[in-house]
Each structure stands twice: as C-alpha cells, then as structure tokens.
Symmetry: C2
Subunit: 418 residues, 2 copies
C-alpha cells in the first residue's frame, strides 16, 4: 500500500474542543507515515477543499499540533456552508473528488455536526461511483449535542460545565445581594432547537440554588413562569433563571423576537434574557441582572470538561484508526458503559444512520412543571462535565493558545467558483 | 488587655475574591484569641449591624473559613446601603456604636469600596466622640479599581483576567467563523464610570487579535467607530469590540439607553452590546454575535487571578495585624514595588485621604484614537492577572464553594427601623 494523504476539515460552529479532535486526527496520522503521508486541512472548512485552499499540516511542529488539544476555536477555520443534495449540486461533489484526486487524498475526516455527517456520507458514496474511492469518516462535534447514536457529542460537555459553573457563581452573587438589591439573575444560553445546554444550568439546584429553566422544548407560559419566579423569590429571597435562546411562545415566535425597536424604529435583535428580565421587572418589580453568554460559552477552553477533551481527542484518533482498518462511511461514537463511576468506550455508527437524524432531549429529562431537570437528566449530565483540563498559561497570566502557521499546499487545479 | 470582639461586614457589589479577604480577617483574628475573642459578621453587610443581625463566625469550622478563600460572592451577604452624612443621619451612626458596645466590639473591619471607606472613617471619628472608641479599618474591595492610593483594588484583577481570557477565546472563535459567518464579536463589560475593566479586553491585541475598546472616558463618536471597525474587518477579516456599559454619547446618554422599546411600548433596559452590534450591522452589514458578561465576570472565581486572591487575603490579614498594632482609621493598600518581575507589598493609607476620592483611569492609558490601550496600561494590567488560583472541584465536576452556617448571635437590644 503506497501512502496516501488525508484531508481534514472543521465544519459549522466551533467549540472549545474541536481542535482536540484535530489533534487526535493529526497525531494518529503521524504515527503511520507509511500509510498517511500528510494531513491536508481545509482552510475555512469544506470551502478550502472546493477552492483547493489546503493547509499543509506537516509544516506545523509537533509542539503546535499538541497545543491544539488545549486551544479553543477552529485552528484551520470553519465555515457555515452546507453542500446541497447530490441532484442539486453534483458539480460541487465532483469538484471535491477532483481535488482529492489531484492531491492523492485517500481519507476524508470531516469534523462537525449533522450537516457534515450528511456531506461525509455522500462523498463516500460518490467517490466510489466516480472510481476514486475515498474513505470518509465523520468526527462528531456539536455543542447542540443532537447527533444520534453517540451518547453525547464533543463540545457539549465543556459548554455544559461552563454554564453549570457560571450559573452557580452568578447565583452565589445574587444571593449575596438579594437583601437590598438584585433578586433575579437571568442567563441566556445557546440552543435554538434543543435544551441540552439550558439543562446544564439546572444542575445548580443540587447546590442549593433556586433555579428556573426555560427550554425550547416547552412552550413559554408567561403566567406560570411569573408565578414560579415569585414563589421562589418569596421562599429563597432570590432566583436564577436560565433561558435558552430558543425559548418561544406557543405561536412559535422566539422570546428574543418580541418586536423590540430602537428609537429609529429599526427592529432590534435583542436577546431572550433582557426580555425575560424586563418581564419580571414589569410584573413583579424585582431588581434584576441579566447576562448573555453567547460565544463565551462555546469558546471557554479555560473551563473545559476533562471528559469532553479526552473524548474529542479519542474520537479524532479513533477516526484514523478505523480508517486504517478499512472502515468507511462511519462515525466513531461515545458509548456510555456506566454513569457512576463514569466509564465510556468508542463505538461506531454507519453514516447512513447518522445523516439527517436529530436527537432531541428526552421529555423525561424535564420536570413536570417544565422548569427544571429530572434526576435522570442529572445522571446523564454530570459525567460529561467531570474533571478539569486547564490550558497552560504564560507569564502574563494569559492562556497559551496556539495559532498555526497555515502554509498552503501548492495548487494544481484551475479556479472554481462557489 | 481583655479580649474584645471584632465586627466584619461586606459592602456593595461582591467579587470573586471578597471572601478571600474575609478569610484573611477571620484567620488572622483566630491567631489572637487573647485579643480578639470572636468575629461577628454583619448579615447582609452593614444592615446586619444596624438591625443587630450578627453572624457568630466562631461557629464556622476552620475548613469552612479556609474555603472562603476560593469561594466567590459575599459569604455573609452584602448590601447596597450607604449611610448618609453624620449631620443627616446621626441616628444610624449612633446605633452602630450602640450595637458595637452591646457586643463588646473593639474592631470594625469594613470590606468595600469608596462608600464604605467613608462610613468606616466616620465610625472611627464618632466612636471616639461617643466615648466607645472602635478601631475602624477599611479593607479595600472593588472591581471598579477606583480607590485612591492603593495601586489596585482586590476584585479587579480577577475580573480583568476573566475579560482578557474570555475576549481572547471568543476572538479565536470569530476568527474561525469569519470567512462565511460572524465577522464582529461585541462583548459588554462592567464599568459605568471607569474603563478599567474594558481596558483588560485591550490586552488581546498582544495576542494578535484586532480589537476596538469603547471606554466611558471617551465620548462615543459613531462615525469614527464604524470607520475603525470597517478598517479592521477589511484588514483582518474580523474584529472584536469590547464595550464598557458606561460608554456614552457626547450628550451623556448611555449607549444602552437608546430609547429601545418593546412591542408594548415599554422602555427596554437593553445593553450596550446589542446596540453597538446592530449599529454595525445596519451601517456595514457584517454578521455579528454579542455577549453581555454582567455578573459572570465578577463572580468568576473559577478563573481568578492568583495575584488578586493573594492580595485580597493579605489585605484582610493586614487589617487585623494593623489593628492589633493600634492603628486606626486606615486602609491597608497594595504597593507596587516593580512590574517586571511583579513585586508588591502592603502599605497603609489614612481613611481621611481615601474617603470620597475616586481614582480614574489615567488618560495616558488610552491610545490617541480612543479605541485601545497603551503600553503603559499593559504594563500596569498584566501583573494584576498573573497566575491561576483554581478552586477545588467535586466528583461531579462542580467547584466546591462553601455556604456557611451563618448562626446568629443572640440579640441584646431593641428593634431598630432602617
């Protein structure tokens, strides 16, 4: 077997640990120079493959590749670019294969969520048909935690830890101030369709904090919500509200789109947190503070979950090992062996069963009143936030995150318009 | 000398390290049982003293007191309650002395910002006049970093570290996404009057990130701001904007108060970040994300600066040592001996020179264009964010923050209306 090259790309929203998967892929490839000569990474994701803008990772030192394990974001650049169906856009798929052929690429490692699993699946099918078979392996990544079959998705555990810890810290703050000042703290978290991230905020109940969670899975009931907030403030003196950005009214409108306009009449893209906070203020008069975590939550490598970092790396590594064993059109998965103590192993799922399937949060993870999480949910979540995996810091007190050199592979093909 | 009791209270907005000062005070007192029999803490700050709601800290185990060093928020409760001038409100000052007398309190350790320094000063004066002299020592605390004489204020260094690290992480995220998606990230930080916290965001320039800072010290110039954002995006592909909540128009209106109204016509208390983000979108069309850190930043003990924790503890300890040496009406301070390597020692300042004096950010810390920080500012800031001081975590993956028992000292006096 002559050595081929591998292609690796990052897709969609980045996370605190997607680079740990990249590290797993590249370090595993480097252990097999007889089979994999080089890993070419797509600059800005799949767009790099389409435009033949490939990064030569052999030009990166082993120290810099190792540092990916503790560096958040997508070191090679990512993109939001979904390839359409084969029928609609055969041209782009054929271009991918053409680029792979030109650069002797035999392995395609695609690191992303549901959309990229679908692309990965199609590439594996089409390359076969086109007589240049490429082994396509999907490496799971998504803070949304919505890929099927795998117990959980790399990226989620670290966001969950960040939200749980930050909610706890801010709640301690509110508790300190509640006598004469702030009584309600509202934290907005990511999750347009699924409440996995918001659910992590519910863990602080175990630490004595009165908390109300607003899930996208539960239609927003203003009256019931306000009554619950009032009850908690009267009982505990304060309350923390964790609101998912996807929380919506019964008619489907997001809370964040409440028709807010600035002084010029422009529609304002506000957040759900200020809407909820002002609603509480208007109805109950409580003093409030609110925060919107946004990118801070998914980039917070400084507070990553060790379990998450370990799994992100292991899945990248496993992708390469499985490819070298001849597997194709699959995604390595996390299999939960036990929750307490937490034990997991790596499994695999056929991409035909992963592509275009969304795993929602089970309704039995949400309490009957719709504002909290059940013990089953807690049992699921805690293992995923276990352990700390701090990055190293420099003498200034800043984390040592790596920026790669990103040297381009010389192009061989004509331009391609995307 | 017969042993007296000490009174300790937390004042104003809490921080990630105010409990480290409490720990310093209590542990130092416990080393001198012959002189200080017990530390009574005000429940919810000075209100606890006025209403004779005192917490008996001798009922707290030494483990729990030690755990204060890594627990954010105010463990005894804080309050926003400013005693008026002696002329306006002699009744409350006299009540304080009456409570101190009833509980044999000879030492008053007040942990807060400018207002509490003023109260502390007045108590020391009045107690003398009233024939029950109390040694009043102010322990500095404020994320606003605006107390005079001391080089910096406990609480600030940890917020600065959190903002610098979080800005860096989110900027890496935006950089990954900028090709096809988000090009501008806007982070709103605390600081209504002074730009110290926003300045910390400027440190990421040293780490290769294009950043624009909006300070409360600089009148907002929309045209110049938008031109700067455009220039950076065109040059780097993306930009991070760190906006202080105190950023205001030339006429003094805060950006956050831009007349935003919800669909019912209610004025919305939005943030400065969404206003800035929407302004950029309207004028330049860039896709954006924004975050509001709010309480997350000042409660983030998980990312505290070690220098900050050490100083918070040392100032609490020094307050007791100075009191036992007979000092009165003073505040222990941080004296910077050198920036590189960072060396500091403890000094002291008379409260007469601390009370009612605000230290602003020097204009030579802001770059000429008004959107960045100078080398002198960086030299000032870096030492304050040096080192990490992680809290311990439990098996669930959550930090072990302590909640004290908070047993009340039996009351001896009649009720008092505040």
């Amino acid at each position: 077997m002559t050595a081929k090259n591998a292609f690796y790309a990052q897709s969609g929203g980045v996370t605190a640990v997607i680079n740990a998967s990249a590290c797993g892929v590249i370090e595993a490839c480097r252990k097999h120079p007889d089979k994999i000569a080089n890993v070419y990474a797509g600059r800005n994701g799949i767009i790099g493959a389409l435009t033949e803008d490939l990064i030569d990772t052999n030009q990166e030192s082993s120290e810099d590749i190792a540092a990916l394990k503790h560096t958040p974001s997508g070191a090679f650049g990512s993109c939001r670019y979904k390839l359409k169906s084969l029928e609609e856009n055969q041209r782009e798929y054929e271009r991918l294969i053409e680029v792979f052929k030109a650069h002797n690429i035999g392995y395609f490692f695609y690191n992303g969520g549901g959309d990229s699993a679908d692309t990965c699946y199609k590439v594996s099918q089409l390359s076969e048909k086109m007589g240049f078979p490429v082994q396509a392996i999907h490496v799971p990544k998504t803070v949304d935690n919505d890929l099927p079959i795998t117990d959980n998705c790399p990226g989620f555990g670290s966001v969950a830890k960040y939200i749980a810890v930050s909610s706890l810290e801010a709640s301690f703050d509110v508790r300190s101030m509640a006598k004469t000042s702030t009584k309600v703290f509202v934290l907005e978290v990511m999750g347009r369709h699924a409440g996995w991230i918001a659910a992590a905020g519910g863990l602080i109940e175990d630490y004595g904090i009165p908390v109300v969670i607003l899930f996208p899975e539960v239609e927003f009931d203003q009256e019931k919500f306000l009554a619950t907030v009032k009850e908690k403030v009267e009982k505990f003196g304060y309350v923390t509200v964790v609101v998912s950005e996807g929380t919506h009214w019964p008619d489907g409108r997001f809370l964040a789109e409440q028709g807010t306009r600035d002084s010029f009449g422009h529609a304002q893209l506000g957040g759900a947190a200020p809407v909820v906070a002002n609603m509480i203020k208007d109805a109950l008069g409580y003093k409030f503070h609110w925060a919107v975590a946004d990118y801070l939550q998914r980039a917070a490598r400084h507070l990553a979950s060790k379990a998450d970092v370990d799994q992100a790396y292991a899945l990248g590594e496993a992708a390469v090992e499985l490819a070298l064993k001849g597997h194709n059109s699959i995604m390595p998965t996390v299999v939960r062996e036990s929750s307490s103590p937490y034990k997991w192993s790596i499994g695999e799922a056929p991409l035909s069963e992963v592509a275009n399937v969304e795993k929602m949060m089970p309704m039995e993870y949400i309490t009957e009143d719709g504002f909290g999480i059940t013990d089953a949910c807690k049992e699921y979540l805690y293992p995923l936030i276990q352990g700390e995996a701090y990055p190293p810091y420099d003498d200034n007190g800043m984390p040592k995150y790596v920026t790669l050199k990103g040297v381009a592979v010389p192009r061989k093909l004509a331009d391609f318009e995307i």
